[in-house]
Structures are given as structure tokens and as C-alpha cells.
Symmetry: C2
Subunit: 289 residues, 2 copies
């Protein structure tokens, strides 16, 4: 089976590289007039996935908004992943899991690849316990053709000071992580690696430097739309890296519900913008894909 | 209702401050001769909680080992939390959740306090996206008498380089987090705060300095037993802070299963060690509790 990067690039050619965040937050459910319970959650997800069917390459359920409803919410997360697969899209569970290696193996088994867990195509992980602690998840992604996206530089300003703290060798925390991701991917071969980076779409100059240290990795770029970065901003800051980037939009599309038509129109607007930005990127300087 | 710290301190007086990790890892389930499925998970948890009944103050389910079994595993996590409550102990879900503030609010709703989520007494969170991003969880803990433990310095060596990276003012990432926790707790009043720190029991001199910056916080100290720190080590490094510490043992007790008697004997051994260490700490220099 083709690995995550190949499947993504193939899908992006026909559907665009847009990643749709599936964020059943309390405020969006309220805005849609849904009850804040498991039944409301089920209706929210059903509507979003109907709207995304056949047009979106990657759907990214935000685990925290499912876990809000306890075990019932997690059951809905499982159903959402199944439906995303049935619709021929890729599922990326955004749970930012991170722990010591033994526990990390549990999270990897939970989130990606065949087995007893959710069986998504990709997951996000957070590196506070160190890059090496993440290895069980990275190895599992390589072994079963899925992907792991490591949070390197987040879209929220609160994260900057920690992510920009410096190691004794002068590199920032985020830069060192980017280097570790690149070294891991390079050791696996010359193709796009199984380990991607999460770099907020709202990046500044420091963020652009981090991106340059990731020549071979997929990049998940959350924060497009409501968090303040436009597709044009992403195009300007990501440059040719845009061709291996998943620009991720959540609220700016989801607030156009609760009708499937409203959501589809919003998805189409963002898809067109992403298409055009990628076309321009493909015609500009050579990229690594 | 008394807040988490009060309930913990009261329970610790009669049961000891020992925190028992509920870690249904693949290798422990195999060691116990259980099938690696939701039924095996249920039997594992039932046995551990039978053994802990009436003797353990805090039970800490490791979320990753439940999530391994997808939605069914998370349903068992919910049942485990309910049983811990029914047994009069405190539940601390160790999930190390962490995200931007909006999503963090979802995780907080999921894990602690009454509502539609798991309803545990405490949760662990990871700060890679910044201390300020955690505030929705900290505020919820204050509002409903639960607790949040922020991972500051983990028990695994992989985490050291990131946690010891330095801010421009010279403080390490872990030191700055300890200061933010202390400032948050101090702003809430002179009593033990709702925000605790996770500091691995395997700490070195740098870890001891971090502990000194947390005069008013509960401390969760995982890594006692199988990860290399003995209760005597914790006593030596934590000093009087031991009286507001939850020394957490998982594997070193759990590997004594699958019989309830075997587990009880191991729990008793660790309880006695923790009791005696706390007695000595109470008789030595003044502590902050």
C-alpha cells in the first residue's frame, strides 16, 4: 500500500491539499442550534462529512472536542474516522498525544494503523517529553504507511516563548525538533518521510527558518481562516514548501453550517484558493517534492 | 466541597500518599495471561481496583493504555473512574493533554469535574503549546475543586534537553513553568493550589531546584519503582516537599499480579515505605503544608 505522503499527494492532485478540521466545539454546536450532547455531536459530524464527501483530501478531527463527551464522544470519533475512510479521504486525528516511550506506544496503537484502536491514517503528537520518547509512534507510522505530525511551532502566540527557548548549541527548541524530524526521515530514505511537522499557518520569520530545516517533511499548517492567516499569507510564508503542506481550515468553514450547502460553498472557496496558490508554487522555484 | 488538595491530604493521613498507576500496558496484560482486548482490559482494571480498594488514596489511570483499545477502551476508562470514586479514592487521569486554549477547554471538560466527560478528580497536561494555553483547564480545576498537574520535568531522560533549554532570561523551560504554576496558585490564595506539577521521581540536582520554585503546589512524582527511583531516593531528593507529593508507582506493583493478594502485598510494601518516609519528613524541617 502506498504510504501516507503518496496517498496525500495523489489525492491533493484531484481534490486540492486542503485539510478540513472537524471541530465540534461547544460554541460551533451552539451556533448550529445543536444540543450539546452526544446526539448533537453525531449530527454535527454527519453534516460536516456529508459536505466534505468527495471534495476534501484530509479531514482532521480535533480529539478534544470529542473527548468532551467522554466515552460516547470517543465512540463518535471512531465512527467519524470510519466514515472518512469510507469516503476515500485521509483521516488525521489531532490529539497532540505525548508521553514516555512505553505509553507513547499505546497512543500510537490507539490512533494509527490497523488494530483495536481508531485506525486513522495520521495523528498529531506533542514533544514535551522529548523527540526520542515519540519514537514508538514514528516507527509505527513507518511500518504501516501512516504518518505522525509532531507539533514544532504552534499557531497560538502562547507557545512561542517555550518553542523559542534555546539549547546550549544555540538552536531553539523548535529548530532542534525540526532537525530531529529531518534526520529521522532522511534515515528512512530519500522520499517524503512518515514524520511531518505541525507549523502554525500564522508563522513569522522564525517560523520560516524552521520550515527551511524540514526539506523532506509534510507540514500540517493549522490556523488558516479564523485564527488569522489567509491562504495568501500561507502562500507568502511557506513558498514552495506549500506543495507538501496541508493547509488546515476549521472554524472559518464550520461556521458556515449547519446546512450542507453552506459548508460546501465554504469548502469550495478555500479549495479554490489553495489550488491557485499551489499552482503558483509549482510554477515557481523547484520544490523538494 | 473540599478541593482536591484538601481531600488528598485528608486521605493521605489514613491511607498514605501513595498514588497507584493503573497501566494496562500490552506487556503487563501479557504477563497476567490476559487476552489483549477490551475484555482483558476490563479484567485487569477490576483486579487492580479490587486490590486498591480502601488502601490507596489516588489511582492514576494511564489514558494511553486505555485508548489503545479505541472507543471500547475509553468506555473502560470511564468505568474505572466511576469505580475509583465509588471506592472513596481520588482519580487522576494521566493523559498529558495539551492544545490551544479553545481545544484545551474541551479536554478540561472531558477529564475533570461534573458533566458529560470522564469526571475525574484530576488530570495531567503537557505545556508544549505554552502555559497560558492551559488556562481553561486550570480555571476549571479552580472552579470545581479538582486539580491539574502540569508536566514540568518528566521521569524519562529523553525529555531533559527540551525541558532544560533556556529562555532569554536564563531560566530553563522547566524553571519558568514552575514559576508560572506558583504565580497562578499564589493568585488563588495562600492554601495549596489547584495546579500541581509533574516532576519525575528520578530527579537530579536541576530537578531539586525546580521543586524549590514550587512552594505551594502538589507534586506528582511518577517513576517510583520500575523506572529506577526508590522511595528512599524520593525521600532524599524531595525532602520536606514529600508531604505534598504523590509518589506514584505503577509497574513495580502491577507486575505482582494477577492475583489480588499479590497486588495487595505489593501495595502494602510501598504504602509502608511511603508512610515511614512521610513521618520522617514531618519531623524534619518545616514544610509548606
Amino acid at each position: 500500500m502506498a504510504d501516507f505522503a503518496e496517498r496525500f499527494i495523489r489525492l491533493a492532485q484531484v481534490r486540492s491539499s486542503l485539510c478540513l478540521g472537524l471541530d465540534p466545539s461547544a460554541d460551533l454546536m451552539k451556533l448550529w442550534g445543536l444540543d450539546d450532547d452526544a446526539e448533537g455531536l453525531k449530527r454535527f459530524c454527519g453534516t460536516v462529512l456529508d459536505a466534505a464527501d468527495g471534495t476534501v483530501s484530509v479531514v482532521k478531527p480535533q480529539a478534544g472536542f470529542f473527548e468532551r463527551f467522554g466515552p460516547q464522544g470517543m465512540a463518535e470519533l471512531g465512527k467519524a474516522v470510519d466514515q472518512i475512510r469510507a469516503q476515500g479521504a485521509l483521516s488525521l486525528i489531532d490529539g497532540k498525544r505525548g508521553d514516555v516511550p512505553g505509553t507513547m506506544a499505546g497512543y500510537a496503537e490507539a490512533m494509527i494503523g490497523a488494530g483495536k484502536g481508531f485506525g486513522a491514517d495520521a495523528m498529531t503528537v506533542a514533544p514535551y517529553l522529548g523527540f526520542d520518547a515519540l519514537r514508538p509512534a514514528l516507527d509505527r507510522a513507518v511500518a504501516n504507511g501512516s504518518a505522525v505530525f509532531v507539533v514544532v511551532r504552534s499557531s497560538n502566540p502562547d507557545g512561542r516563548s517555550l518553542q523559542d527557548a534555546r539549547h546550549p548549541d544555540g538552536r531553539t527548541v523548535a529548530e532542534a525538533l525540526a532537525d530531529e524530524i529531518s534526520a529521522f526521515n532522511a534515515a528512512c530514505g530519500p522520499h517524503t518521510g512518515a514524520v511531518g511537522a505541525v507549523i502554525g499557518a500564522t508563522i513569522d520569520e522564525a517560523g520560516a527558518k524552521i520550515l527551511a530545516r524540514l526539506p523532506q517533511s509534510l507540514v500540517l499548517a493549522p490556523g488558516v481562516g479564523a485564527q488569522g492567516a489567509s491562504v495568501a499569507d500561507v502562500e507568502a510564508t511557506f513558498g514552495p514548501s506549500l506543495l507538501r503542506t496541508l493547509p488546515s481550515v476549521s472554524r472559518a468553514i464550520l461556521r458556515e453550517g449547519p446546512t450542507v450547502d453552506g459548508l460546501r460553498a465554504a469548502i469550495d472557496r478555500y479549495r479554490d484558493q489553495v489550488w491557485r496558490a499551489c499552482e503558483r508554487a509549482a510554477l515557481s522555484p523547484p520544490s523538494t517534492i
